[in-house]
């Protein structure tokens, strides 16, 4: 680079996509060609993945963050970050896998044929490699890999499936406790085995026949129509037999639902020419996933099964947060399924051993600081201003002329804000800003300013950055929900941007966390701790997070386990006024009420021993951090819930992006060069994966870096060229 002045890149927002872009642009290989400044609202990085440390060092998240074993780009960058930090430290550094725990246990809840809820659980076999490994070691995108993993998966699902009732222990249908002398028990067991045996032998038959049937139809070189007709007749007969069996037995029903879904996907892949269509799986994105399964012969039972609902719940795919309006583009769903089941390495899920802010964004913050990246906290973007068309030279593309910010707070002496705190030797983000570093910090604290609220517009100053003077390129990494508020000029003048913000919808989310003084077994949950989804709304997803307790700062009587719950939060009929400063608190109060109702009414299906005789939740199970750490008397009864944590993620930039049918084609790629000094980054962009998640955001950030400096090569962005 020599003495040449570096190119100035302004990165707006500090979420996964922005951080990935900054990490790519400041790689040592670029020899300082790019100087990056990250402008961040409030006091912490992370966007939807930010977390904070509250009372007793408790980790408080936006929601449940579990990384999938197929998040190769995200893991690769994070591992490189950890390596870089280790290399720069004098003492022994920490490894990335000190902070990630493989989780192979996945559960889903569904309605039992006998009433109530029944929980399906499966242990997924370990897969070769670790997420983020170089692809030449274990390339997960090859056909042979799909086949090999497909075999392992089906073996797991069909032969290793177990169902459990909430009353504890395995389903009585499958493993009763009757002794050998109990003839009634033996008869029950025999009857169960009869159903199970009949189903299992028929299930494999149907699966094999269907596979052959589909493949034969697609390959003209094996024209055995007579055999095909025979097989179709057999399949139809066996299907009829199943339908009679599945009505009464949960275990059989679940097995059949899985088989049915696999069949429908195979049939659909052939029927819609997905293996040859140049659009890949995008060719079916105008269908809703369930509608597409229905078109390909899936039964209504399978379409309504927990195994289908898992996808919708994991992707928060409910229009306007309405549980009765699930919607997800079929191609995105199938791509996600393929990658989830067939491309994971190590384990399908990886849980963090501390907050996502602590495990992900604090190390990135430290690594980027060492690379010379500048951070400007408390900067709220107000407007992306374009150059006036009259200023453009002939043939010159439109560009960003200025960035207008509100400075929410200024630091004492104009010093850089130091955002991290130490919790048990780990650099962490606090749940609130360090007011001592702010000008008039005490006053700001008294005013209870909410720096992350869209509706709290109080500010200390304004700032305008100008092209060529303050920046050369812009990476716009805010959430898509914020675009109408900061890019009104572009949206008004550019029909593509207008369509994108209209069609690519988002949804608000809600979450709560409780710290419990009893372990899961004491609560009546007898199978291994894991992640369960497809449960009752509004908190259909639960993850056991007891493993994070050691990372928190409990002194006396630490919790025995921690439970995170989350899902969508329905939109209100009318948007709040821009000046409605109390809106987030009102929505948070709604979440609190939802959580209390959920604990009183629904959690007993998972934790039968967490309720009183009256049916009310045993509030004394909740650990009050004030009592535990400060020796205060614990808060009594239902008010004990107020010592726990809940959140309503209603800020436009916090809203989760959806992949609705017919919407993906309106996404704009970070590679788009309509504005030649601007690129966009976020899981809402056209980044190939096109579903809201850490991996999509990371891919998008890498694409944004490529748009500016042609690095990384598109072929090096893992899975970007996936069908």
């Amino acid at each position: 680079m020599g003495n040449r002045k570096p190119i100035e890149v302004a990165v707006i927002g500090g979420g996964c996509a922005s951080i990935a872009a900054a990490f790519e642009l400041t790689r040592p290989e670029h020899k300082g060609a790019y100087h990056v400044t990250i402008y961040q609202l409030g006091w912490r990085l992370g966007g939807k993945g930010s977390s904070g440390r509250g009372a007793a060092g408790r980790i408080e998240e936006h929601g449940l963050h579990v990384w999938l074993g197929c998040y190769d780009n995200a893991f690769m960058l994070l591992r490189q970050c950890y390596e870089e930090l280790k290399g720069n430290k004098k003492g022994p550094g920490r490894n990335w896998d000190d902070f990630f725990m493989p989780d192979s246990h996945i559960a889903a809840a569904g309605n039992s044929a006998h009433g109530g809820w029944v929980n399906w659980a499966a242990h997924f076999p370990p897969a070769p490699g670790l997420p983020g490994d170089p692809l030449d070691t274990h390339n997960p995108f090859t056909l042979k890999h799909y086949f090999a993993r497909g075999v392992a998966l089906l073996r797991t699902l069909l032969l290793g499936l177990e169902t459990f009732r909430a009353t504890g222990g395995p389903n009585a249908d499958s493993a009763p406790d009757h002794g050998p002398d109990n003839s009634d028990g033996f008869v029950a067991r025999a009857a169960s085995l009869l159903r199970f045996g009949a189903l299992a032998s028929a299930a494999v038959a149907v699966e094999a026949l269907a596979l052959v049937e589909v493949a034969l139809k697609s390959m003209a070189t094996v024209p055995q129509n007579t055999v095909l007709k025979l097989m179709e007749a057999i399949a139809a007969a066996v299907r009829k037999q199943f339908e009679q069996l599945v009505a009464t037995d949960d275990r059989i029903r679940y097995q059949w639902e899985i088989v049915d879904l696999i069949l429908a996907n195979l049939v659909g892949a052939i029927r819609f020419n997905l293996l040859t269509d140049p659009r890949g799986l995008d060719a079916i994105n105008h269908f809703d996933h369930r509608e597409w399964l229905r078109l390909n012969g899936a039964s209504e039972r399978a379409i309504d099964s927990p195994f289908t609902r898992i996808l919708y719940d994991m992707a928060l795919a409910y229009v306007e947060g309405d549980a009765d309006r699930p919607a997800m583009a079929a191609g995105v769903a199938l791509r996600g399924t393929l990658r989830f089941f067939f491309c994971y390495r190590g384990a399908p899920l990886w849980k963090m051993r501390a907050g996502m802010g602590d495990v992900v964004f604090a190390p990135f913050y430290e690594a980027l600081c060492r690379r010379g990246v500048s951070f400007k906290f408390f900067h709220r973007l107000r407007n992306v201003r374009l150059a006036e068309p009259g200023k453009l030279a002939p043939g010159e593309k439109q560009y960003v002329e200025a960035l207008e910010f509100d400075v929410q707070a200024e630091t004492l002496g104009g010093r850089d804000y130091r955002p991290l705190v130490d919790i048990r030797g780990m650099p962490c983000w606090p749940a609130e800003p360090d007011y001592r570093q702010l000008k008039g910090g005490a006053q700001v604290r008294r005013e209870q300013r909410d720096f992350e609220s869209h509706w709290d517009c109080r500010k200390a100053a304004k700032l305008e950055l100008q092209v060529m003077r303050d920046f050369d390129f812009v990476v716009l990494g805010v959430g898509i929900g914020a675009l109408p508020y900061v890019c009104s000029e572009i949206i008004a003048s550019d029909p593509r941007w207008c369509r994108m913000v209209e069609r690519v919808k988002t949804v608000a989310t809600q979450a709560f966390q409780i710290w419990l003084g009893a372990d899961l077994q004491e609560l009546g949950w007898d199978i291994p701790p894991g992640t369960l989804t497809s449960f009752v709304k509004p908190f259909d997803t639960w993850a056991d997070m007891g493993h994070i307790v050691p990372a928190e700062d409990w002194r006396d009587r630490p919790p025995r386990t921690v439970a995170y719950f989350c899902n969508v939060l329905g939109d209100l009929p009318h948007e709040p006024e821009a000046s409605d400063i109390g809106y987030p608190k009102r929505r948070a109060e709604e979440v609190r009420a939802n959580a209390v109702r959920f604990l009183n009414r629904d959690i007993q299906h998972l934790w039968p021993r967490a309720k009183r005789r009256s049916g009310e939740f045993r509030w004394e199970l909740l650990v009050d951090p004030g009592a535990s750490n400060n020796g205060k008397k614990p808060v009594a009864r239902r008010a004990r819930f107020d010592t726990q944590y809940w959140t309503a993620n209603v800020n436009p930039s916090d809203r989760y992006v959806l992949s609705l049918p017919g919407s993906c084609e309106h996404r704009i790629s970070p590679l788009d060069n309509t504005y030649d000094n601007l690129t966009i980054a976020g899981d809402w962009t056209d980044c190939s994966l096109n579903v809201g998640c850490v991996e999509a955001a990371t891919i998008s950030g890498r694409l944004a870096a490529h748009a500016i400096c042609a690095s990384p090569a598109l072929e090096d962005i893992i899975g970007y060229d996936h069908p």
Binding site: L194, G197, A205
Partner: protein, 252 residues
């Protein structure tokens, strides 16, 4: 607003080489080292095996399972007693279930392994380096009363793309399908014995020869008394024994 300094030129992004991902699954497989030709051939072979096995094994198992179920139902309803017969039925039922499941999974494992094994692009064979995709040429016709389909998909431009002629002699042949995938110009095809489900005797009178015009011809000679069925087999290179195609003959 400050005036733009005239001495400095505004930085502009270059247009990227492409604006989106490559989505085609077949291209994707090629890029990741699983040549489509190889996949197609091995999958077809495995599927043929599955058809043969499933038509005999699975139907039989379903019937056995249903019969066992019926017997056991009767036993439960009539006696509700523990007895040796019931235990035996249960054991057989579970064993049947396991056997069928294992058989099917083994089949898929075979498919997976066959895909992993070195294919036509093995040692000594030219790699796919060009960007142009090989195309399949097909010739259909009749010979000796049988329908014939001859496909050829050469791995490179230097290899002849003319589908071999198929000449059928003998009675009862309904269809012959040849799928040839030469991976090098020096590919000399030979056919192993063809096998059919449930038949003890294979079909061995299948040979390649060069015509007077130096064109490749597949000679299918079916001896008298050959049992009906679909006989399939693999074509390999005479020199390297690498597989380079399949042939199937339907009799009866």
């Amino acid at each position: 607003m400050a005036k733009r300094p005239s001495s400095k030129k505004r930085s502009r992004r270059k247009n990227p080489g492409r604006n989106g991902p490559r989505r085609s699954a077949s291209e994707h497989m090629d890029r990741n080292g699983d040549g489509a030709a190889q996949v197609s051939k091995t999958v077809q072979q495995a599927i043929t095996n599955m058809v043969q096995m499933s038509s005999t094994v699975i139907e039989e198992q379903i019937r056995a399972g249903q019969a066992a179920a019926a017997r056991m139902r009767d036993g439960i309803v009539n006696s509700r007693q523990l007895n040796t017969d019931v235990n035996l039925v249960i054991d057989n039922l579970v064993a049947t279930t396991k056997d069928v499941g294992a058989t099917w999974l083994d089949l898929l494992s075979i498919m997976a392994r066959s895909i992993q094994s070195p294919g036509p692009a093995g040692p000594g064979a030219p790699a796919h380096t060009g960007t142009s995709q090989p195309r399949t040429s097909t010739q259909t016709g009749t010979s000796g009363g049988a329908a014939t389909i001859s496909n050829i998909k050469p791995a490179g431009a230097a290899i002849s793309a003319a589908p071999p002629e198929i000449v059928v002699t003998g009675r009862g042949v309904k269809k012959v399908v040849l799928d040839l995938r030469p991976h090098a110009a020096g590919f000399v095809p030979i056919v192993r014995e063809l096998l059919a489900s449930g038949q003890n005797r294979g079909l061995s009178g299948i040979k390649f020869r060069l015509s007077a015009q130096k064109k490749l011809v597949l000679m299918v000679n079916v001896p008298r008394g050959q049992a009906a069925g679909t006989y399939t087999g693999v074509i390999v290179d005479h020199g390297t024994n690498h597989p380079g195609g399949t042939v199937s003959v339907t009799i009866g």
